[in-house]
Symmetry: C2
Subunit: 416 residues, 2 copies
């Protein structure tokens, strides 16, 4: 056992995603794991996602009724998926002779705001869970869902079960939160593309945030933010074996024991589209107006580059998620006349590659090494954005795999 | 409009069964009906069952985990079915431009005892529904479910959505409760067997209770009991058209306007099995012990006949539901020695036919007419049970259709 969890308070929170509870056989395996932890004397809380494709199936049903269904009713609908998997898991544990009880978000006391479909957790009740512990129960909490102060059911957005698990770990004072998934942890690069990618042992919250936001799908972004804000240690590991995975934690506390990696890993995101807007008058406030309109339409703008062209006119390039393109176009069309936009170009053949590393901020030259590596291999960089611990480049989509393989080699990420 | 609903207080409760919300197309039709009532100025509450086979599918999932799953967890599981159909119906109404909100049993405030899978309603909250009315919402309440005082989810047993609807109508002071189903109402006999069966316009609660308990599947027994105890008028009608169906109500109030039918209809139940127990000592308390063991095993005994045979030994024949046979055999095996039972016979080839009529109690000779009708046609009667308004006979199962056609003719039920 690692030294940072030695003063374990005996409560363990485990989260299992949709693929880990996708069949009755898999649910039985989760039950076994819970019972083992319980027999070790731990108070076990398990958070589950909906089984396999349940959520997509429910969304499909609603899509037959409306293109833009009521968000409150969508949450009412989708929250049933986790209720089903929770109750089945409780049954499986009971069938194996242990004690268990499943709880909805409401029963647990997961209080959220009323932003249906993207609700934020305001408070997590402990009373019911401790009551169930005192009865000797393994407690299964339906992930992804909460309840408003008016008793309406909310959901926390895609991947919200991760957030449920972290919030529970924080509220219960669990020393860490185990996220069981279908991979062994966070890797230095996508193992499907980079054959010598290496599992990362420890990541800081900020590094994990950058990984999550730059395309790595292991952990939900908001769950990492929640963990960072509440200093919850996360252990991302495989649901198929007992191997140690990746610990996500405040690495300052382990800094004296280990050197921070300059570059921890590479990631990529092909679900991006570039929009270039030309001929914007280069006067203060114009860009601000464009982006505030985007914000109002709930469009997350990722990278932004502005150039001043001739005659005092500016050109802005930005990237957004593919699925936001339709609404983004509508916003720009609305703004065309008021902002005196001359022309707009949409490029869907782009992708983003990123290198992430907490040590980057104290090691100059990482960016130039990245650019050289790509340049020497004739990969054209179309946009660049940097923060203290991440550097991202926009490239042609068909060069992405090559680019991340090159970067992984260039920074020798296969070595510990 | 019928005179007994003229002082309508403007609240209408409508219940739609699983076949009426089995597809998105059907859900849209229910939405249309709700919107029409709403536009007529009514405050509309709709209770729905789960879509089509949802409940059976969920039971199938649980059966893969356990032969005897935790009842609490089963209720957690099954209650999702109605939550899904409720939220989809709300979406459909909203999509059509009206206002709607769906509520779970908990959100509605349907408080039950903690007899999981067969819970009894203790109280129905009105606050949330009236709040939603004040916002102009059509309110959809998930049927079949409630919540204990400890916030655990319960279900009301098969057909429980009928009970939900009646309980809501009672709590809200709705003048009547509309049960929409796939038939036009309650008939004098099963229209699939008796071609000239006639829709019954008005039935007393007691008659409806006897119909429900003797095999007619139009209304759930407990819903009728609840309606009787709280004097809720029920209107059973087709979800496919606007025809008037069958009114179930306190017929004493309409007695001055119409003569009670001597025999209102015939019904049958092929889901029965006869058990005969021979050689029981004919001393007080022995039968009581047998039946109290049955009661403890949650077996409902329907008909009972006891004969004293030679040497002071008794023989008891009784009928139970097919699905209870396995447990019943176990109970008898356990009792064999203590009760000195000599032998047991099980007969699964029997069925029950009944005639029901509130006027029966004041018209002697109905029973003899029934027995003659069957006897003249060589149909052997193996058991008989009577109450003031029902006479039931056990026959060979293969004679049932013939028997109910004969009885329907014999009592001229095709005539008003």
């Amino acid at each position: 056992m690692n030294w940072w969890i030695m003063d374990d308070n005996n409560i363990v929170v485990m989260k299992f995603g949709g693929t880990s509870v996708g069949t009755i056989e898999k649910i039985n395996k989760v039950a076994d794991r819970a019972i083992i932890a319980n027999k070790e004397g731990k108070n076990v809380v398990i958070t589950v996602s909906a089984m396999g494709d349940t959520t997509d199936d429910l969304i499909g049903l609603s899509a037959k009724i409306s293109n833009n269904p009521s968000r409150r009713e969508m949450d009412m609908l989708l929250s049933t998926g986790e209720q089903v998997s929770s109750s089945l898991l409780a049954m499986a544990i009971i069938e194996k002779g242990a004690k268990a009880v499943s709880l909805t978000g409401y029963q647990t006391g997961i209080l959220t705001d009323d932003t249906f479909s993207e609700a934020k957790i305001l408070d997590v009740g402990k009373k019911r869970i401790f009551k169930e512990f005192s009865k000797g129960n393994i407690v299964i909490v339906a992930g992804f869902q909460g309840v408003t102060s008016e008793c309406d059911i909310t959901t926390l957005g895609r991947g919200g079960s991760d957030t449920t698990a972290v919030a529970l770990a924080s509220a219960l004072g669990a020393k860490y939160c185990e996220i069981f998934t279908d991979v062994e942890g966070v890797f230095t690069g996508d193992p499907n593309i980079i054959t010598n990618a290496r599992k990362i042992n420890i990541l800081s919250y900020d590094e994990m945030l950058e990984f999550a936001s730059s395309g790595a799908k292991v952990l939900h972004l908001r769950a990492v933010e929640y963990a960072k804000n509440h200093e919850v240690i996360i252990h991302v590991r495989s649901s198929f074996n007992n191997n140690e995975g990746t610990w996500v934690m405040n690495t300052e506390s382990v800094n004296d024991k280990m050197e921070q990696a300059v570059v921890s890993g590479v990631s990529y995101d092909t679900n991006q589209v570039k929009i270039s807007v030309f001929g914007i008058p280069d006067v203060p406030g114009v860009a601000a107006r464009l982006f505030s309109e985007f914000a109002e339409a709930h469009i997350n703008v990722d990278m932004i580059v502005q150039n001043v062209s001739e005659k005092g006119k500016a050109a802005i390039s930005l990237t957004i998620k593919n699925e936001d393109l339709k609404i983004a176009k509508e916003v720009i069309d609305r703004m065309k006349i008021t902002l005196h936009i001359e022309s707009v170009e949409v490029d869907t053949d782009i992708a983003k590659v990123s290198i992430v590393g907490a040590g980057m901020k104290s090691h100059p030259g990482v960016a130039s090494k990245m650019f050289s590596c790509l340049g020497e291999n004739n990969i054209n960089i179309e946009m660049i954005s940097t923060s203290p611990i991440i550097i991202s480049c926009v490239l042609r989509k068909d060069r992405v795999k090559e680019a991340i393989r090159l970067l992984h080699d260039c920074f020798s990420l296969e070595k510990e």
